[in-house]
Symmetry: C2
Subunit: 160 residues, 2 copies
DNA sequence: TATGAAAGACATCATGT
DNA sequence: ACATGATGTCTTTCATA
């Protein structure tokens, strides 16, 4: 798993901005022959440095309101149950299209990123689908009001 | 800004999985003529439904450890300063390559997603670059231990 | 690994149903 | 919305260094 050199990184940066650039365009931009660019990209894909090519969906399809939710699960008397509780909650959340991201933090905390059309719908969703989950100790909701970095993330995660 | 029909959505789903599919491959997969697929994709791009084409970076380039950090900013005596404090913190964080995502929640809370090579480096980064920020009321760190949905997000956000 | 050249595949566009 | 064909461009491969 050798390192990336400057040419590799330059190619990756260009493709990240626009993966539809043709090999000839990249070649011209970087002042290298097409065959070299072709070879490098082939290697980057083989090595898994490029996982895959994808599209980013635009604002039209992105939820207008997003919120981060942090769930703390009640510790049961029988300790072994905790992991099952948490996994069950994560599985349940993962299946909902409004839920863009789900992760566990520590043993008893679940973090989810939610998105919906409007603030009202989002709040309703939280009331009906999140706060009704059994065995919760606490639910903290953080609406994302102003995203400064990584905003496009939602266009990447949203399902179509 | 008309609606998407089933064909549009099918195309988007295929491109999301692999944006290097040729028009002929998509046409065959969906049992439609190439000219139709070509036309639809053109329209999807024109409308901005497809924001742009991009690549997802593989595990080699992704930070191994990620954590969500929730910062609460101390409310100053002069209320107007709060927004400046918060904006300043967001700007500062945004410039760091370890910081993958930054958003504001409410008036006094900043949410950031951090990533680094190892747990130690990540913790050091938090101690040195986060907890040292002025005017913080609280800092909560949630290491993301097990991501159930949206894991690829990091490969999308990471810089190269 | 890098390059140049050549062959084949592809997107694109125009025209017509 | 679909079919077809003409055009120029791009990718891919291979031989060579």
């Amino acid at each position: 798993m050798m390192q990336l050199d400057d040419l590799d990184r330059a190619i990756l940066r260009l493709l990240k901005k626009d993966a539809r650039l043709t090999i000839s365009e990249i070649a011209e931009e970087l002042g290298r022959p097409e065959s070299t660019i072709h070879f490098r990209i082939k290697k980057l894909i083989e090595r898994g440095v490029i996982d895959h090519y994808t599209i980013l969906l635009g604002p039209e399809l992105r939820p207008k309101k997003t919120a981060l939710v942090i769930l703390q699960v009640e510790t049961p008397i029988i300790e072994d149950f905790l992991e099952r509780y948490v996994n069950h909650i994560m599985r349940t959340l993962s299946m909902l299209p409004n839920v863009l991201f789900v992760a566990k933090s520590g043993k008893d905390t679940v973090i989810a990123l939610l998105g919906d059309e409007t603030e009202e719908k989002l709040n309703a969703f939280i009331e009906e689908n999140i706060k009704t989950l059994p065995t919760l100790k606490s639910v903290n909701v953080y609406p994302l009001d102003d995203v400064k970095k990584g905003e496009e993330l939602v266009g990447f995660l949203v399902e179509v």
